[in-house]
Symmetry: C2
Subunit: 525 residues, 2 copies
């Protein structure tokens, strides 16, 4: 593993020139030092993902899902979607669509097994699929918290700071949505302001919500402006992703289907994710919840291919269980881990990239938050996830984004990446000469073999406190949250926006102003 | 997974009768309720362990280790050990022993790949090897802490309470040593008093330290008395285990070799564990540290077989890295995870059971303690560990046992066990009828399929707080440590000692009294 004291994958690595600069880099010299972190890169899984069910069991789950789609079917709450299904030969009866296994299989087989997601800064382009992994920031939380300010409703200011933090953290590869919902921005124009912030405060891959076709179109135009490409190029280069949730059980709602219609037709990336909480929106048995997840995912993936054969799509697994005492969802559980791994098997069976999540139920950034998150990552990473949503900052089952959790999670993600780095096995690394030189009873601190390598030999965490008890105690006994609070401040103090050509920024502003003046999109309230 | 509200694998499950009872069970009825926990059982790994290096790389590491033993050799600081090696044809020069690959391989091949460890209560007998896993409590910490009393030196009272807690926790399968060092017991007789406590406060498999042959003999006699078997039966039934550390690099000290001589000759279990911290007692490169670990482990395992062919032995992997800033050890790191997994590959290459650990560097029972521990468990469990030492309660790189960490870890271990439970895939579990019944837009709470199963459907954690924020906040916002503190108290309040035949207890007391009167063992101070 290589660590890099100074490199954060800044815009300098990108292909674009002539972006605007701020004076902050100069200011920084006198201020907080940029905390070190490993350089930007996508981790790669170098071993086979875990087979949590046998191949035979996998086929049973797969066949069960095909049976659900053929015999029970799903409700598609969008007339154009039903028309497409009917034209393709599916059985449409009211809102219900039943699809036979051959048609599902034929459609799903047209989906690519991997694709590239293009970022505003090409240095942040991402490979989605294969053995590559990408981590997103937390997304869609209604609440936000930090140690100083406590828990509060989502707002524009915290939104912007969380985007800045996501941009700073090399472990965060792309956005997964709004890190927190900026409810002080009116819903009719929120997507315009929020997406402009995502595109100017950050240069990582954009996410857009599918809440009606117009919002989808607006966001796509904004990313086109920032990437400075024409419409045809954009159709060749997926530059935005949207998460499409099934309204489980067995239903796709109108805005979600509109999102697929809009983005799949433009060759943009769709992450189809059934919301199958076992015991609530899905059977209480994991096998049942996974059959339903797989049926809903296959139907959604098939529908993307009905809209445009070859359109980039990802299989999303989100199956977890509820607390049967309260009925509320639980995350980072043993059931989540197993479902995450089997979800990966099902996604590979379908031949598409796989999305899982870094989730927890905890209310405090304590041991529970940490163990639930690492258990989630264990399930996701060993299950072969290619995209890990909510990678950094998620709390309370997704109800809250936490600044401190975001930087702790970023450290967890870097540790996972370091874990995935291969162990070099060659003569120099096996060090038999050094072992002979040091000999029985010696030590390796002073050995040349050590001196040549110790600086970059091991992962250096940003949060973990490795001091001995006495030194740590004298320093006030800081916990992980204390270290995280300081790191949040240092990263935000050190932040500078990515360079953006002033002409491009102006074009973006003009677009937003025009669309805001037009009233954005109609809302129900 | 089955959970069991009431069952703790108590002595009633054992084969012995007529043990002494206390009045505590009656007292308990009016006091704290026994916190629920899953019933006693050994978890089993049902998928292939991770191959973190390729088969070719594994062979390179293996051959490298054999080369180290042939060309560099190891120091064996015990004359009888050197004599045995010389008699077997090894090259002995002063304290140095060089063994050619054929001899190492021939000896190691005599070790069993699995065996049974017999507990004082036969319901707590353990399978060691194969896909079975056993977790020990924390061992050998010089300090102890709880939230109320803070950090203090180890002592008899805390020792006894930690043993009681280990007995109560179904996730703890056996002892790994003294959970904390009771330094108020004089070293000459400490093993007598401490082992009596382990055998009367608990009925789980015993560990004994190898600190001179007499201590080994005393502990073996004590377990023989409690198990009420003759010497011949004891020689057929491994009833005690000892951890033998190499004094890395490349040395076995006198007391450790005396331990192997004593216990392997009596067919008791030896866990050979090199102490190969990369960058300190081993090369700074993981491949180098693992070559050295493997050389030391193979030499130790081979030596057990030289003492008695077929004696039960376990391959211990403990390779981690040091913090290159301070030189102090770090645990639960990405390097630890990889080393734990490759250690498993090396152990299986050697054909013996594998030991790893649940370790962390943290000073506080905070997010760091939790994520370092779960990363450790990730490496150990996915690496195919059969024995996980320090499973519950370890802090500060092993310098401290924590009461709260012990019950949090026990919950982590239960979650790992639940994760390892297979997902049932059959018609009833796939629930297609229930999915049809509920249909699009419905929910599963009221379904008969749910009602029939919800009570035992999911793992129920003892520590995690799954309440929504408002309810949790009104309850004072308890963290995992707060829940752990309460759980420690409830488990200790609820504790009752395992039944022990009064005649057996008397025989044990007589033995201890006699050996104490004899002065125990000579010490250097």
């Amino acid at each position: 593993m290589t660590t890099d004291e100074t490199a954060t994958a800044g815009p300098a690595a990108g292909g674009r020139t002539d972006r605007r600069r701020t004076g902050r880099r100069r200011q920084r010299a006198a201020g907080a030092a940029a905390p070190s972190q490993p350089a930007w890169r996508q981790p790669r899984r170098r071993f086979a993902p875990v087979r949590a069910v046998s191949d035979d069991e996998l086929e049973e789950l797969h066949r069960g899902a095909l049976r659900v789609l053929a015999e029970i079917g799903m409700d598609f709450l969008h007339p154009r979607a039903r028309q497409l299904w009917a034209d393709a030969g599916a059985e449409v009866e009211g809102e219900r669509v039943r699809v036979d296994p051959a048609l599902v299989t034929a459609l799903v087989s047209q989906a690519p097994d991997r694709f590239t997601l293009h970022a505003p800064n090409s240095a942040h382009d991402l490979e989605i699929g294969g053995d590559a992994i990408a981590f997103t920031a937390v997304a869609s939380a209604p609440y936000v918290s930090d140690e100083a300010g406590g828990r509060r409703q989502g707002n524009e200011r915290d939104f912007a700071d969380l985007v800045r933090l996501s941009q700073q953290l090399n472990a965060v590869h792309l956005h997964g949505g709004y890190p927190v919902e900026p409810v002080d921005l009116h819903a009719s124009v929120r997507h315009l302001h929020a997406t402009r912030m995502l595109l100017t405060l950050s240069d990582k891959v954009l996410h857009a919500y599918s809440l009606g076709a117009q919002r989808n179109r607006d966001c796509l135009e904004m990313v086109r402006i920032v990437r400075q490409v024409d419409h045809e190029t954009l159709d060749q280069q997926p530059s935005i992703h949207t998460v499409i949730n099934a309204s489980s059980p067995l239903r796709y709602d109108h805005p979600m289907l509109a999102g697929i219609l809009e983005y799949s037709s433009r060759n943009q990336a769709v992450i189809v994710t059934p919301f199958t909480l076992a015991g609530a929106m899905a059977p209480v048995t994991l096998a049942g919840a996974l059959v339903q997840q797989h049926a809903e995912a296959l139907a959604g993936i098939a529908f993307t291919q009905l809209v445009r054969a070859g359109a980039p799509v990802v299989y999303g697994g989100f199956t977890s269980n509820v607390d049967m005492q309260s009925g509320s969802p639980a995350f980072g559980t043993p059931e989540f881990m197993k479902a995450a791994m089997i979800g990966g098997q099902l996604a590979r069976r379908a031949g598409v990239a796989y999305r899982s999540s870094n989730v927890c139920t905890a209310n405090a950034v304590d041991a529970q938050a940490a163990y639930e998150s690492v258990f989630s990552l264990w399930g996701a990473v060993m299950g072969g996830a290619n995209v890990v949503l909510h990678g950094a900052g998620w709390m309370e089952g997704g109800l809250r984004a936490s600044f401190e959790k975001m930087v702790i999670d970023a450290d967890l993600l870097q540790m996972v990446a370091a874990f995935l780095d291969p162990v070099v096995v060659d003569d120099a690394a096996m060090a038999i000469d050094a072992i002979a030189q040091v000999g029985p009873g010696g030590h390796f601190f002073g050995a040349q073999h050590t001196q040549d390598r110790f600086r970059d030999a091991f992962f250096r965490p940003a949060i973990s406190d490795w001091r001995n008890f006495e030194t740590w105690d004298e320093a006030g006994g800081p916990t992980a949250v204390d270290h995280a609070r300081r790191r949040v401040r240092a990263l935000l103090d050190d932040y500078e926006p990515p360079r953006l050509d002033p002409a491009v920024a102006e074009e973006l502003d003009e677009f937003v102003s025009r669309r805001v003046a037009e009233g954005g999109v109609a809302t129900d309230f």
